[in-house]
Symmetry: C2
Subunit: 220 residues, 2 copies
DNA sequence: TAGGAAGCTACACGCGTGTGTAGGCCGCTG
DNA sequence: CAGCGGCCTACACACGCGTGTAGCTTCCTA
């Protein structure tokens, strides 16, 4: 545990802010609460960061840089078989998980999300090479959905913890989660035939829709 | 579109509250804003529901009942091949999606989540029957993670919409999403060999951990 | 050593908010 | 028709909050 006493006041404030925002959410967290946690006056907070919103922006920026650095590391070593990249993220992000989860949920951490999508996309490139059948959808789309799915464990950690019976952020939870994910990722929920049928149905529906749209009568 | 003018004042208030909470979040939504939207005075709101928190509880209860009803319907007809149950939910929940997403994200919609887990579990029962290899993890655990993943599209809809290039809540988005999900669900991200190796590694790690825990020295 | 900028504190202001209260209107029942 | 209990409104209160301001200390520099 890095004691925060040796950090500069500015860094201490940012640290405290991320924690308070993470615990209570942006609205419920107060300037004074953050200042107390950082061991400074509330005025200093205003001195270093302009407003509460500016402070939040600074926190977002800090988290983004942390993620960027992490991603760079992951790309650097790139051991194949490292499935649970999100698990790695979660452990490194550590105390900032609550903040990140909240930011993602309220839509404000777009850059972080996109960063992870980028990484997932590169992973899909490798995966697609071993694939024989044609891919019916954009790689970006698949990476986006996969990213959302991966992050859902963090964002919905309350519920996942309850369902698993252990806190997902604990070591036990991580282990159980990893086992579960490996099983889910290795067993398709849909057979290829069912999938093909479904895709056909979807295409049919889409064709029907397009016809409807360009038809003789237009609504409204 | 059901005009809300014919609803009772109490119902109109609840409706307005769900919408306001969904749009702005619980903290930012105001009693007066909800009252205005419902076309009543703010005092009436206090008369029917005791406090802001009580109003929220009533909203939660309403959403829960809606989901329960929906689930019962799904269980009733039970057409196999209906993969995208979540899609169905989303369309029925309709205007309440934002509220539900926010509730799930802040951990307050536990009962709703558990309800969907229950449904997913029953679906897994069917799926497991066609499976030959032994299942290494609890069905509940798998259902929980699957549920979180499914719901992530709603909860992270801002980011998913951005990534897909179309709003997920639109018809186009739904179609693209369905195609993507079918593809992802029908193609394992991990080969069975890789998965087995990963499971072995995890078991090994867990064994090591247990040994460490019951070992001679205990930390701290 | 003088001076000034940066780091930091104490304190007050004003606004928006949830909540409380007094009272008016309407329909039902004796 | 009197009375009364529901819905419903208008208005006031008190508090917490983000923000503003004045001034102190510390340290670097010319």
């Amino acid at each position: 545990m890095t004691d925060q006493a040796d950090l500069t006041a500015r860094a201490r404030i940012r640290e405290a802010a991320v924690l308070e925002f993470g615990e209570h959410g942006y609205e419920r967290a107060t300037i004074r609460g953050i200042a107390d946690r950082a061991g400074v006056s509330s005025g200093l907070l205003r001195h270093h960061f302009g407003s509460k919103q500016d402070l939040r922006d600074a926190c977002d920026e800090f988290i983004l840089q942390t993620i960027r650095k992490l991603n760079a590391d992951v790309l650097a070593d790139s051991t194949p078989g490292k499935v649970n990249y999100i698990g790695t993220i979660r452990s490194v992000i550590g105390p900032y998980q609550a903040y990140l989860a909240r930011s993602l949920a309220d839509g404000s951490a777009g850059l972080v999300f996109d960063e992870i999508v980028k990484l997932t996309e590169q992973w899909l490139v490798l995966l697609d090479q071993e694939r024989s059948d044609p891919v019916p959808v954009d790689r970006r789309a698949r990476a986006t959905v996969l990213t959302a799915m991966s992050l859902s464990i963090s964002v919905l950690h309350h519920h996942v913890s309850r369902g698993l019976g252990v806190p997902v952020f604990s070591e036990d939870g991580d282990l159980l989660l990893a086992k579960t994910l490996v099983d889910l990722y290795s067993h398709p929920l849909l057979s290829l035939e069912d999938a093909a049928a479904a895709q056909a149905r979807l295409d049919e529906f889409r064709a029907g829709k397009r016809e409807r749209e360009t038809g003789t009568h237009d609504e409204r």
